[in-house]
């Protein structure tokens, strides 16, 4: 017994020496073996590493081994992240995401049924002011149309399985979803360009102005229906601009672009993270967009015309953007003189 023990000591020392030599020779090009395997290999009197608990713990933690098959993380036997991603995506993201969207829609519907469309209190003058140039409108509609398509096709990826598929069946749905994925991938690029152009085009008129403080104090007069004088864009529009287009838009673009090129460099973990960020940001930006679309169409009389035709009636300007109206009038008078 003692003989055997000293024998195994000798072997362990020899192996350790070999391992050391090998390790120093290949230190530069070979990845270091898992620490626990190393430790066990050098532990005397123990069958080295074979089926030891430590090895399987390494496997469960996703520590990569060696394989001849090339591809993303082919050396990883078990990736534990996938299940976490599944639980997040099919748990809170799906549930609270849809709940939030439903709540926002219900809130808007309730608001509209109680308050109705905000109409002009005075008669239109017939004289118009240019509110959006052709360029500005082009940028807006580029972003708006691509956004709506992206929202529909993207929402379909998350919820279509529960909402649309039971209605239209597997075959048609998968064809639609396939088209949707294709559209989403290409319009994503269009949206990215549009959003950057939009930020560059509109940022000047969205900078903080002292008059915004009053707008915040009065909550924009949304409930009281009182007009809070504002410049070209009121503070609500500024929130949508910086938070919606600026923050969430850029987050969507960054996470979306990284999902768009799956074969470049990414690990599964990076793609799972990007997907979760993308869907959470998408839910928030979509909820905000519902508010924007509501106020831009049936919420406020004349708002849709302003972005459709580019010009607004003077009465509309006076009643919605008093300070901007005053500036425009000053400009006109200046020109006239």
């Amino acid at each position: 017994m003692k003989q055997l023990k000293s024998n195994s000591w000798l072997w362990a020392c020899l192996l350790a020496a070999c391992a050391l030599v090998l390790a120093s020779a290949h230190a530069a090009d070979a990845p270091a073996p898992p620490a626990q395997i190393q430790a066990q290999a050098q532990k005397p009197g123990v069958t080295p590493a074979h089926n030891a608990e430590a090895t399987w713990r390494e496997v469960r933690a996703g520590t990569p081994g060696v394989t001849t098959v090339r591809g993303t993380e082919t050396g990883v036997l078990v990736s534990p992240d996938g299940n976490t991603w599944r639980q997040i995506r099919h748990g809170p993201v799906t549930f609270y995401g849809s709940l939030l969207v439903i709540l926002v829609i219900v809130a808007i519907a309730l608001f509209h049924s109680r308050k109705g469309m905000l109409r002009l209190s005075e008669k239109p003058t017939g004289r118009t002011l240019v509110r959006f140039s052709n360029w500005e409108r082009s940028v807006h509609w580029l972003v708006a149309i691509s956004f709506v398509c992206l929202a529909l096709t993207g929402g379909n990826m998350l919820l279509g399985k529960y909402v649309l598929m039971p209605v239209i069946g597997h075959t048609l749905f998968s064809w639609l979803a396939g088209m949707g994925k294709f559209i989403h991938n290409f319009l994503g690029v269009v949206f990215s360009v549009g959003a950057v152009l939009m930020l560059a085009t509109f940022y000047k008129d969205n900078i903080w102005h002292p008059s915004d403080a009053e707008w915040i104090r009065k909550a924009g007069g949304l409930v009281s229906r009182e007009h809070v004088p504002s410049r070209r864009f009121n503070f609500g529009e500024k929130i949508w601009f910086w938070l919606g287009v600026g923050l969430f838009g850029l987050v969507m673009i960054a996470s979306g672009l990284s999902l768009l090129f799956p074969n470049l460099y990414e690990t599964r973990h990076a793609m799972q993270t990007a997907e979760v960020i993308h869907s959470i940001a998408a839910t928030l930006i979509f909820c905000m967009s519902l508010g924007h679309i509501y106020l831009g169409t049936i919420g406020v009389e004349g708002a849709y015309q302003s972005i459709r035709t580019g010009s607004v009636d003077e009465t509309w300007a006076k009643e919605h953007h008093q300070l901007w109206y005053d500036e425009q009038v000053q400009k006109k008078l200046g020109k006239g003189a």
Binding site: L22, P33, P34, I37, Q38, Q40, A41, P48, A49, H50, N51, A52, T55, W56, E58, V59, G65, V66, T67, T68, V69, G71, T72, E73, T74, G75, V76, L77, V78, S79, P80, G82, N83, W85, R86, R89, H90, N156, M157, L158, G160, K161, M165, H170, T171, F173, S174, A177, G178, K181, N185, L260, F261, P262, N263, L264, R268, M271, Q272, E275
Partner: protein
């Protein structure tokens, strides 16, 4: 009906990659796709061990749960198959799968993912058994011929076992008892979960 399962005996696998080659040849899988791979842990160190891994045909399959078009299905024998006509190549099954089984041939602009390809347990797909379309899309349907997956059948050391889960676990239990070590049923926890309470354990043949 038997519940089909894979099991790789890491005490026996010698990393010959015969299973990988057998699979590629039998199923004529798309270029750049490997349905099966052999991973060696602690490569070059004493006690290194190898495991052959492919789709494990999970009971609560994550790929099936996350697929946005619901193209996966379980056969009567517990094999996880998918319909390539429906697959849109979104990559979600690859994100979710713990074993890295789903693979995508690159197609179209910017290296977009094509239709997902994975191990079928040599059970073909939703097309008519032995039809040309089935072979083209999914490879051989050996199960319909009364045969087991070729990777396991051709394993030189019988490390890779594929077939009726009860039979596979009996063989493995015998081995583990005889050699007194190496009883870890690799990947079974992740793939098949814990046995449901109330289900009968397979009888141990003495």
């Amino acid at each position: 009906m038997a519940r089909m399962k894979f099991l790789c005996d890491s005490e026996r696998c010698i990393e010959c990659n015969g299973c990988v080659t057998a699979c590629k040849n039998e199923n004529e899988v798309p270029w750049g796709v490997n349905r099966r791979r052999v991973v060696t842990l602690g490569d070059g160190l004493p006690g290194e061990k190898s495991v052959s891994v492919a789709c494990m045909h999970c009971s609560d399959a994550p790929c099936m749960a996350v697929c946005p078009v619901d193209c996966f299905y379980h056969t009567d024998e517990g094999v996880v198959l998918h319909d390539k006509d429906m697959c849109i190549g979104c990559g979600y099954c690859f994100y979710a799968c713990p074993f890295g089984a789903p693979q995508y041939p690159q197609s179209g602009a910017f290296g977009q993912r094509g239709k997902m390809d994975k191990c079928t347990f040599c059970a073909g797909g939703p097309e008519v058994d032995h039809s040309e379309e089935e072979f083209k899309k999914y490879g051989r349907n050996r199960l319909a011929e009364g045969k087991l997956p070729l990777c396991a059948e051709m394993c030189s050391t019988k490390a890779l076992l594929g077939g009726d889960g009860d039979v596979v676990s009996d063989i493995f239990r015998d081995r583990a008892l005889k050699r007194g070590k190496g009883g870890e049923m690799w990947g079974w926890g992740s793939a098949y979960g814990k046995p449901e309470p109330g289900t009968k354990k397979p009888e141990v043949k003495s």
